[in-house]
């Protein structure tokens, strides 16, 4: 039995296969070590998503080298493989137009940096936190905890809003008051409410805008600034505070009304 194994081991083809397997395993090991080293080296100087990109690039490059050498070991001629790849790539190119477009869009996204890992963005009707920026797609986590994958191509083509780029945000509150109300009193009251709310920034100051005469109300926009992280809290508290203040001052927030006059057919 031992003789049998020895004869097999001495067989050149088998030895090559074993060496090839070994080199692939070694490739995996060295690639992951190199990727980790890249992470450590660039940690202090680069943003998180550049580090992730470098890491992946180094990993696949090192692994590809080892796989190529393994194939060479087994007896594949690399020049033939590359030649075949040239012919194949035309066919694959036609077949994988979308992927290629996504990859190129991905490179543009990484270069342009409209958002980073951890930012909250709005794409179409989806709002979510950026989990990863990859070559083919961007992954988001929405606030109801869903995982959304958006292809890079559609990100490049469509409008993307980064909600967390700047440290402060403005909240535009649109409301209407009844025609009988004193608009100056309403303005004083709204400014007072914003002044009393600790989340509303003193500077930039809140802005009161009288938009015009609506169908059933005087239309007003009241814009208040808040710290980015407190935006939602401000929106909630401000609505509540305004309702309470309006109720206390007897200011009416009207709703559309229709007058229906009923007449008897016989009256005619």
């Amino acid at each position: 039995m031992a003789d049998f194994i020895l004869t097999w081991l001495q067989h050149e083809q088998l030895r090559n296969i074993l060496l090839a397997i070994l080199s692939v395993i070694l490739g995996f090991l060295i690639a992951s070590i190199a990727a980790r080293a890249v992470e450590k080296t660039f940690k202090s100087n680069f943003s998180q998503h550049h580090i992730v990109l470098f890491k992946r690039l180094v990993y696949w490059l090192v692994l590809a080298l080892f796989i190529a050498s393994a194939l060479n070991q087994v007896g594949f001629s690399l020049s033939v493989i590359l030649g075949a790849a040239g012919v194949l790539s035309v066919a694959i190119g036609f077949a994988s137009q979308t992927s290629a477009s996504n990859i190129i869009s991905g490179l543009f996204l990484i270069g342009e940096k409209p958002f980073q890992l951890g930012d909250t963005i709005k794409v179409g009707s989806t709002i979510g936190e950026v989990l990863s920026i990859d070559l083919l797609s961007v992954k988001l986590r929405t606030f109801d905890n869903l995982f959304v994958r958006i292809p890079n191509e559609s990100l490049i083509k469509s409008e993307v809003t980064n909600l967390t780029r700047f440290p402060i945000r403005r909240f535009d509150l649109k409301l209407g008051v009844a025609y009988k109300e004193n608009i100056r009193q309403v303005r004083e009251l709204l400014l007072q409410v914003a002044d009393n709310n600790p989340l509303s920034l003193d500077d930039p100051a809140p802005v009161f805008m009288f938009l015009g005469f609506g169908e059933s109300s005087l239309d007003i926009q009241f814009s208040v600034w808040a710290k980015r992280e407190k935006f939602r809290e401000l929106r909630n508290t401000l609505h509540e505070d305004i309702k309470v203040a309006f109720d206390a001052a007897g200011i009416e927030i009207p709703f559309p009304q229709r007058s229906v006059i009923l007449t008897h057919a016989n009256d005619k």
């Binding site: 440290p167 600790p198 509303s200 003193d202 500077d203 808040a226």
Partner: protein, 272 residues
């Protein structure tokens, strides 16, 4: 319930088991209670901060409508200290009346900012540091943005000041620390001081025997309308005649970039 005015209220206090004490510091109502295995802390905001000085009194228990925070121990320490501290962000104060400083002139303002109170228990042994149970702001200030644009700047607290210029006019308010700010107008134009940002996290806090709180002083040099002011922190000098003790060191060390930021943002010029 007996109430005593306590001017030096930051001294250590000893609590017997189940003893409960109430404190009135500005608008803040604070209750501390020690039990065998826990400390209870409850706060209430009374809205009116005119009552001075700090009132301290024994109460039977924390009022039922308040929800105390519980801190659990195997055996609760019997000594407790209230330590005033300056706020964690700069305070931007607006002057209640417009103030202008002519070219070549200098003025000193006394600007007060509210403090927060740390409830501190002593260290369990010599190797450990003191245990801060909680940090309570005496007055909740509104947020504000201080910077040249909505993209560059820093988040601060907003407050209003009378910008008093004489020490005799100062009111003794135990929950507000006074910062002497000296402004030199070295430019050739009138300098309108409508807002001043006081970088309180960079200042140390001191208390004197009368219960007044002071911070290190600030000196501002305004040179031209472009680069606004350079500032430097002066060690406490105002109360040297009275014994003042340092109650808390600065929260942050003044770094180079802090100085540069303050350099351009410290005062706001006349706005249209």
């Amino acid at each position: 319930m007996t109430s005593t005015a306590n001017s030096v209220w930051w001294q250590p206090m000893t609590f017997a088991i189940n003893q409960c004490q109430g404190f009135r510091i500005g608008a803040l109502q604070l209750y501390l209670q020690r039990q065998a295995k826990q400390w209870l802390i409850a706060t209430d905001n009374l809205g009116d901060d005119t009552k001075v000085p700090v009132q301290q009194y024994n109460v039977e228990m924390i009022p039922g409508h308040l929800q105390p925070q519980r801190y659990m121990f195997t055996k609760s320490p019997n000594v407790c200290r209230l330590v005033p501290q300056l706020l964690d962000r700069s305070v931007v104060v607006k002057t209640l009346q417009p103030v202008s400083i002519p070219p070549g002139e200098q003025a000193t303002f006394y600007i007060s900012s509210p403090v927060c109170i740390s409830v501190v228990l002593p260290a369990a042994n010599a190797e450990k540091s003191e245990l801060i149970l909680t940090d309570i702001a005496v007055q909740r200030l509104s947020d504000t943005w201080f910077g040249p644009s909505t993209q560059i700047g820093e988040l601060c607290y907003a407050d209003k000041t009378h910008a008093r210029h004489s020490q005799a006019e100062l009111k003794c308010r135990p929950h507000r620390a006074i910062t002497p700010v000296q402004v030199h107008n070295l430019s050739e134009q009138m300098l309108a001081v409508d807002k001043i940002s006081i970088p309180v996290p960079l200042l140390a806090l001191y208390g004197d025997l009368n219960g007044n709180l002071w911070t290190d002083g600030l000196t501002l040099h305004h040179k031209s309308s472009q680069s606004l002011a350079s500032f430097k922190i002066d060690k406490l000098s105002i109360t040297t005649q009275q014994a003042a003790t340092m109650l808390s060191p600065p929260r942050k060390k003044a770094e180079k970039h802090n100085l540069i930021r303050a350099f351009t943002d410290m005062l706001s010029d006349q706005r249209g």
